[in-house]
Homo-oligomer: 131 residues x 2
């Protein structure tokens, strides 16, 4: 037993479904996972770590296409360090831009909220004075 967890356990650990884990493998986002004697996947710590990294990239909005590209670069070895650096730098820019955008939209929400708060108060008063 000792080394590696099954696809079900791995799914629980990282918060994806077994289906999705297999799909990630099939799509080339993770390198082929080692199998036990019965042909079942055994996820090692590195695999889990890699999945967690992928998930973070996903939550920042990186498309699967680009995650695959990154995975390929990693597989290709040290010669691609520059490319990987660039990929991250570019993605960082996008995330920063996204945060800015969200902040702007947040302001709008705040304005709307205070506006609706006022209107709701005014409505209350109207009802009070009307009786």
């Amino acid at each position: 037993m000792a080394n590696g967890v099954t696809v079900g356990e791995a799914a629980d650990m990282v918060g994806l479904t077994v289906h999705t884990l297999r799909w990630y493998e099939q799509e080339g986002l993770v390198e082929p996972i080692e199998r036990d004697s019965a042909g079942r996947r055994r996820y090692c710590d590195d695999d889990i770590g890699w999945l967690r990294l992928l998930i973070r990239l996903r939550t920042t909005g990186m498309p699967v296409r680009e995650m695959r590209r990154y995975a390929e670069l990693v597989r290709a070895g040290d010669a691609t360090l520059e490319d990987r650096l660039q990929l991250f730098v570019e993605h960082r820019e996008r995330v920063l831009a996204r945060i800015d955008e969200l902040k702007q939209d947040l302001e709008m929400l705040d304005i709307k909220i205070s506006l609706y708060g006022e209107m709701a108060r005014a409505q209350q008063e109207e009802m009070t004075s009307a009786r």
Copy 2:
């Protein structure tokens, strides 16, 4: 002519396609737009403003389903002020949470970037000393 712009002009103004504008109407995200004598849509300033609000809600990740709900509340009149307020407050929470998440992921990206930066430098030196 005076009042209102065509669907094409409106699309240019707000940055959606004509297709999408008609789709928004069909989905109940905007109330039925007024038509000219030939049955063509004429978007007035209020319509454009409403679209711009919708777009901001979309960029913050509000699903179309909820945008429709909001549109229905507005159509239903002043009695729904509280509901609308609540909808915005809840959505605000989500946007805040999303910003936090992105900030965390940004840290991870920064770490990766400095790591790759170092590795790339080390590689450079190796090449220099190797010759």
